[in-house]
């Protein structure tokens, strides 16, 4: 092909490329239209507020305009990293609770979904799946009330039962003792999110070609062999994706959950980064400091997300991006 014709071809390719893009967009215009509200919502509620990060670099006072405070540089960050002794136990609590929650939630959901799939009585499996999903809709305030009704030291139903049976002398102070905090939060997270995670795994299982199971049967594979060699390998990519996505949230917590459960007796093991941000930002009106903590948390979360994504990609060829 001559240079001239190749140049003509490249010009035509450019024009052809942009018109191809336009054609594709035009063909999918209704889908894009449906996407607009979600896109706008994300842009307005998630990205536009990032302008407020400016507060972390200023000496903002409540009542000032957003850009009204004097510029102070990295003073708030230095205050958090070098002057405050709080970071240690906050990061410890956040990582322990979230890390264990992620691992246990994914593992339990994976096992449960495999077991549900193996249940021969399908209506029963559906019933169990529905029941497992209900806690997802219970708010943390209701959850606290349930835990209180069951485990209040003197009046909790389970504590009262155990004391009356002579199993224990005094009720477990689950809500008012630092030693139970981590276990309590992990168990409650498991209770609340198992059904939701199961659904994701069950959807993946339903997408596994039946021919694989039939071939395995023909080869004489038993039930456990099918689970080990077919079901689990097909679930690993989904588990990996869940792990990657949840790793980005490892420094974040549901504020509502910790707001109701944190109190004067268990703060050592219950107070997490988001509660700290809430305390300084909204209770003590120290918006610049709280914003700085939030920024650091976000940046570290992004780094963790990228590292986990890369690691998982190397190990299993699965990644989110």
């Amino acid at each position: 092909m001559s240079v001239l014709s190749s140049q003509k071809t490249s010009v035509h390719s450019g024009r052809f490329g942009s018109s191809r893009l336009f054609t594709r967009l035009n063909r999918q215009k209704y889908l894009l239209l449906m996407l607009c509200p979600a896109f706008l919502l994300t842009a307005v509620l998630c990205y536009l507020p990032l302008v407020g990060w400016w507060l972390a670099f200023t000496d903002y006072h409540v009542g000032d305009s957003l850009f009204g405070g004097d510029f102070v540089g990295l003073r708030q960050f230095s205050r958090l990293l070098f002057e405050s002794s709080d970071l240690g136990y906050l990061i410890r609590n956040t990582l322990v609770i979230n890390g264990l929650t992620i691992v246990i939630n994914i593992t339990v959901a994976l096992v449960l979904s495999v077991l549900l799939r193996e249940l021969l009585w399908k209506p029963g499996a559906k019933f169990v799946q529905t029941i497992l999903f209900f806690p997802y809709f219970i708010s943390w305030v209701i959850m606290y009330s349930i835990v209180w009704a069951l485990f209040a030291v003197n009046s909790g139903a389970i504590n009262q039962l155990l004391v009356s049976l002579g199993v224990i002398e005094k009720g477990f102070n689950i809500l008012g003792s630092a030693k139970y905090s981590w276990g309590l939060m992990i168990v409650l997270n498991l209770f609340k999110h198992t059904g939701y995670n199961c659904i994701i795994f069950l959807a993946t299982i339903s997408g596994i070609p039946q021919e694989q199971y039939e071939s395995a049967s023909l080869d004489g594979a038993g039930r456990f062999a099918k689970i080990w060699y077919i079901t689990l390998p097909n679930l690993i990519p989904t588990a990996s994706i869940l792990l990657i996505m949840n790793s980005g949230w490892i420094f974040s917590n549901n504020l509502e959950q910790f707001f109701v459960f944190t109190n004067a007796t268990n703060w050592e093991t219950m107070e997490v980064l988001d509660m700290y941000i809430y305390k300084f930002g909204l209770q003590q009106l120290d918006y610049p400091y709280a914003t700085a903590v939030g920024i650091l948390k976000t940046l570290v979360s992004i780094i963790v997300l990228v590292v986990v994504n890369k690691t998982v990609k190397k190990l299993s060829d699965t990644s989110v991006f």
Binding site: M34, G63, N263
Partner: protein
């Protein structure tokens, strides 16, 4: 043809879905009532939206009450109450930060008042004082303290619930059946109360319904719980004035601010609760109980005593009566530390000239400040205050020989004040009035009687106490429910001490906040120590962490600010 119809249908559905999604987004964002105020004038009525704490007493609009109707007919103003169930201080700050505050705004404590003033959001009231002789005369002693909130000495806010000639006491509630069993011998010191409760718990290990009783409880989960009322034994003596739940107390003898956590009487308070815990008398749920939960337990007779929250006694006793447990009704009794009694200390009764917690102001969003100030002027007068406190002549009181005499309707309201207030707008008790923002105080009118008739000694106990409570006080040998405090108390004016505060956003302000945080965090650990040695160790560890903060600079700054206040105001 069919393919084309399907395509068209698909497009129509896609567009319709997009519209629905967009509409639902818009609807979600308008779900909450706007407490920032979108007040308006409708048919000549000036409606003002006011943010108030959530409570059963509040109607939707003030005109639903008799007093509110009078205000509407006379001044053409109706107040619309937007209830808020969360932390009010937080909300007030958020409203300022988002420029979404009301026309008439509550501000709890000086730091928030100063924030609003410094942001230029409050209307200066001085130009209007000429037309407000009642307000100026009524608050002649208080206005100089209110001016201390602003750097320019101008007046931007007013405060409720002052001046007050009535005693506002919060000591200890105890089940009356226990006093009867003890032949009406009343303990006083913390040691005596521990012995009393120990014996009472042995005699009453469970309630009639089988629930385990507890020696003492309190609403520790409330914001004022661990931080405020747990260490407050110091206020039962005559030396330290309770200013706030912050990092300092005020020594009325030396007229100086002192460190809160380092106060020996605060340590005594922690020791008292630790002893209660070690003796198995302290309700371990108290750290996670809200006020509602404490009331719920008390209405079953579970706690043998309740720390501090005497303002709940009417509601608690009402519940006990309806549960058929009338004999268990709680009465308020005094408590002092053993060392306070040994030192012969009287019980301090605080006279407030400033109450920053109940501050209100008109903001720059106020459309008709003159109209609202007219109502405030009226509320400051005898006529307005009598109506707000005693109701309407003929219906709630009659006048005989120049003196107001309460009718049965008003006397009945003494034991059912919340429902009465919701219907009439009349605040007969010391609880905050539902006519939020309007001056409410407790002094004597020109006729020599209290504005609130039920505060007259001859009517007070008659109207507000149940028969059981009257019986208890009679058996204790008291002339009235406040007799002990009247005989053993000493009235101390807080002066300007209540008005001093450090800018919370300054470095010292942040240190002060940290001081409170450290104290609060270590409080529960001290109380839950398993032995005296462990208590001392935990206390020592707490002090070691506390000493890392520059707390003395905070106290020095407070004393410096106090010394700059004119002598006559101190």
């Amino acid at each position: 043809m069919k393919h084309k119809v399907n395509d068209t249908l698909g497009r129509v559905l896609a567009c319709a879905l997009t519209v629905v999604l967009a509409a639902s987004l818009s609807a979600c964002s308008k779900g909450e009532a706007d407490p920032g105020g979108d007040s308006g004038t409708d048919d000549g009525v000036y409606t003002v939206q006011v943010l108030v704490p959530a409570g059963a007493a509040y109607p939707t609009k003030s005109s639903e009450t008799e007093v509110g109707k009078y205000i509407l007919d006379t001044f053409g103003v109706d107040f619309e109450y937007i209830q808020y169930a969360g932390d009010m201080r937080e909300k007030q700050s958020l409203m300022l930060a988002s420029n979404d505050y009301g026309e008439m705004q509550q501000m709890q404590r000086q730091d928030i008042v100063k924030s609003y003033i410094n942001a230029g959001k409050l209307i200066e009231l001085d130009p209007y004082l000429e037309d407000m002789p009642e307000f100026t005369a009524r608050f002649v002693k208080n206005i100089p303290y209110w001016r201390l909130n602003s750097d320019d000495g101008k007046l931007y806010n007013w405060e409720l619930e002052i001046p007050s000639e009535s005693l506002d006491i919060c000591d200890l509630l105890v089940r009356s059946d226990l006093l009867e069993e003890a032949n009406w011998e009343l303990p006083l010191t913390t040691d005596e109360w521990i012995d009393f409760l120990r014996e009472a718990k042995e005699n009453h290990p469970t309630t009639e319904s089988g629930q385990a009783t507890v020696g003492m409880t309190m609403p520790g989960a409330e914001s004022y719980g661990v931080q405020g009322i747990l260490p407050i034994l110091y206020e039962k003596g005559d030396t330290y004035l309770p200013i706030s739940n912050d990092s300092y107390t005020f020594n009325v003898k030396t007229r100086k601010f002192e460190d809160y956590f380092k106060n020996p009487e605060v340590k005594e308070s922690f020791q008292f609760f630790n002893r209660l815990y070690r003796e198995g008398l302290l309700d371990e749920e108290c750290f996670t109980d809200t006020n509602d939960r404490t009331i719920e337990k008390a209405q079953q007779g579970v706690p043998l005593s309740i720390w501090y929250v005497s303002f709940d006694s009417a509601q608690i006793n009402e519940g006990l009566v309806s549960n058929g447990l009338s004999d268990l009704q709680y009465v308020q009794v005094p408590i002092q530390s053993t060392s306070q009694v040994a030192a012969g200390q009287k019980r301090m009764l605080r006279e407030e000239v400033s109450r920053p917690y109940a501050s209100w102001g008109l903001t720059d969003k106020c459309k008709q400040p003159e109209k609202l100030l007219e109502i405030i002027e009226w509320a400051s007068s005898d006529e307005g205050q009598i109506m707000m406190r005693s109701g309407f002549e003929g219906e709630h009181y009659t006048v005989e020989d120049g003196k107001r005499v309460p009718t049965d309707a008003l006397l009945k309201a003494g034991t059912d004040s919340v429902a009465f207030m919701k219907e009439t707008g009349v605040c007969v008790s010391s609880t905050a009035s539902i006519l939020a923002g309007l001056p409410i105080f407790q002094t004597r009118a020109a006729d020599g009687q209290f504005h609130g008739l039920l505060y007259e000694p001859v009517y007070k106990d008659e109207a507000t106490l149940t028969d059981r409570q009257k019986e208890v006080y009679q058996n204790l040998g008291w002339e009235s429910s406040q007799a002990w405090w009247e005989q053993n108390g000493t009235l101390v004016s807080a002066g300007a001490a209540s008005s001093v505060s450090i800018d919370p956003t300054s470095d010292l302000g942040k240190t002060a906040a940290k001081m409170v945080e450290v104290r609060t965090k270590w409080s529960a650990r001290m109380v839950l120590a398993e032995s005296e040695q462990e208590f001392e160790q935990v206390y020592s560890d707490a002090m070691a962490e506390y000493d890392k903060l520059d707390h003395q600079s905070v106290i020095d700054e407070l004393n410096r600010l106090y010394s700059e206040i004119p002598e006559e105001l101190r």
